[in-house]
Symmetry: C2
Subunit: 134 residues, 2 copies
DNA sequence: TTGTATTGTAATAAAAATTATTACAAATAA
DNA sequence: TTATTTGTAATAATTTTTATTACAATACAA
């Protein structure tokens, strides 16, 4: 499991807390990580219309819409892995009656799990999350 | 994300399908992966009392109890990662008011998500899962 | 207009995690 | 007592993740 979701959430929380444009170097400083990686994640958030940016001097990043209109599910969707509970690297033996079918049944299970997860994350907005900080 | 859950589930499904003891080489053959890794995952399943084993010639592995008494949640618990939606490697800057608190809030969120996930997986037994194969 | 700060992104390197392999002791059935 | 199997350690190979370097493009401001 990689750290993309917590990173994206951290970025969104910082943007939510700020009033103007925020530079990637500032974000990286608060997160204590590499600014290029932060910008990459920001690129992805922009592509998913959760963040807007302005290039050039005194440029930076901001939320694309009010924090009350952004759910944690939407943030999660931007970094969602293919297989929520992991994917084995091997291809099961097609000569085995179990192996032949299992990936399909796992996919169905994962669809269900995904739905439950998105429902859970959909019930909290970025504003709600932000409110926990004091 | 690693492939431990699908691997564990594959093992459990194969053991469920078999009647006697099953050798790790057979499991590895069906899964098309390394037998030592399969035995390692089996070790973990044994430690968690979902599987029993017998050493020596004509030894092998079997479910420790009926498939109707094993839920997918219990299988998941044996391979559960620390952080369900990922963990960033960096330590946020403690001088930042957001960074200082965010890990704690993420942990709380993850507890909630975990609970929802376990509830979902707890509603399906290994027997139920097995029934999908035909 | 020229310098400076910033985004955006490619290329590459470094580090970490995952998966595979080799080796072999211990157990046990035949 | 031999053959087969579990159990596990040590190590290697591979893949993924994270970090770094480099630089073009943009836009503000002096």
């Amino acid at each position: 499991m990689n750290g993309r979701f917590p990173i994206a959430l951290h970025i969104m929380t910082l943007l939510c807390d700020a009033d103007g444009l925020v530079a990637s170097e500032f974000l990286a400083g608060s997160m204590n990580m590499n600014a290029v990686l932060v910008r990459k994640e920001l690129s992805n958030l922009i592509k998913n219309k959760l963040v807007s940016s302005q290039t050039g001097k005194s440029g930076g990043y901001a939320l694309a819409r009010p924090a009350a209109d952004i759910t944690l599910a939407q943030i999660y969707q931007t970094v969602k892995p293919e297989a929520i509970l992991g994917q084995a690297k091997n291809q099961p033996n097609p000569a085995c009656p179990i192996g032949k079918q299992i990936n399909q049944h796992i996919a169905t299970l994962y669809d269900d799990v995904d739905k439950a997860l998105l429902e859970k994350l959909g019930s909290t907005t970025l504003k709600d999350f932000m409110a926990k900080f004091h």
